[in-house]
């Protein structure tokens, strides 16, 4: 299981890009942290989600 934004999800084996494609996140508005480190945007397609991973997807909203 992979913990994503606090919820356990059965997505181990998928790439981060594949997982994101199943969600409503706008790829241009997010930053993704995996086990305490930022995942470079260019590596979403090759980052394979692994059992025990802790992922946080930060989705920015407008205003400042």
């Amino acid at each position: 299981m992979v913990k994503i934004n606090g919820e356990e999800r059965n997505v181990a084996g998928k790439t981060l890009a594949e997982y994101l494609a199943t969600t409503s996140y706008d790829p241009k508005r997010i930053a993704v942290e995996r086990n305490g480190e930022i995942v470079p945007k260019a590596q979403y397609g090759e980052t394979i989600l692994t059992d025990g991973d802790s992922i946080e997807i930060v989705s920015f909203v407008g205003g400042g």
Binding site: R29, A31, I38, K41, E56, V61, G62, G63, G64
Partner: protein
């Protein structure tokens, strides 16, 4: 009359202690975006005696900004970099200010931000916020980033919070109040978020990393 630098430093030391004063006065903080968040962050940091700020914004002060941004009627039409410089020097006469009247982009960000210790993301556009966040964390891993997301509307003040996403990435706001959906930004709630960001900067400099 402007106080001498010695008197200024003595007054700050009396309030904050010599050890903190030294950390604050030797720090360089970059602020990307000088709207509601950025202008408020800069004022809080100037009052705390931050030694140097890098201020970046492409825009001019507009009448429609005055409801929440720290500018004056007399400054309408001026570049925000120039107007904020005037306002900050009235508060903190010995702060060093480096201003860049430009938009932060993937091409210029590293050059503009290279000499900073801590970077505040204070832009208004969600895509620009994400771009800057990813760029800083990917290409400048030695910096701290203090970003903001979610401060629009009239939601509770108590929902504006600070949390650490990674050891170098702090995020302030309620995480969801989007100005595009909510339709309004009010000074009090934007100030709350800016205060969270400024306070996080000072806590990082003070070596207090717990959230």
């Amino acid at each position: 009359m402007i106080p001498t630098k010695e008197a200024w430093n003595q007054a700050l030391t009396k309030r904050q202690g010599a050890a903190l004063q030294k950390k604050f006065s030797s720090a360089t903080v970059a602020i990307c975006g000088l709207g509601g968040l950025g202008s408020d962050i800069a004022i809080a940091l100037a009052r705390a005696g931050i030694g140097k700020m890098i201020l970046i914004d492409f825009d001019k002060v507009d009448l429609s900004n005055l409801h929440r941004q720290q500018y004056k009627v007399s400054q309408i039409g001026k570049y925000k970099t120039d107007a904020l410089r005037e306002n900050l020097l009235e508060i903190s006469p010995y702060v060093t200010l480096e201003t860049h009247t430009t938009r932060v982009t993937e091409e210029n960000a590293v050059r503009l931000l290279r000499s900073s210790d801590i970077i505040c993301e204070a832009l208004d556009d969600a895509e620009a916020k994400a771009m800057l966040t990813n760029l800083v964390l990917e290409t400048m891993p030695d910096k701290f980033l203090v970003a903001a997301s979610g401060m629009a509307g009239f939601g509770s003040a108590n929902r504006i919070q600070t949390r650490s996403v990674t050891k170098r990435f702090y995020l302030c706001g309620d995480g969801e109040s989007d100005v595009e959906a909510v339709g309004s930004l009010v000074s009090s709630r934007v100030m709350l978020c800016a205060a969270h960001q400024a306070h996080t900067v000072l806590r990082i400099l003070a070596g207090r990393f717990e959230t």
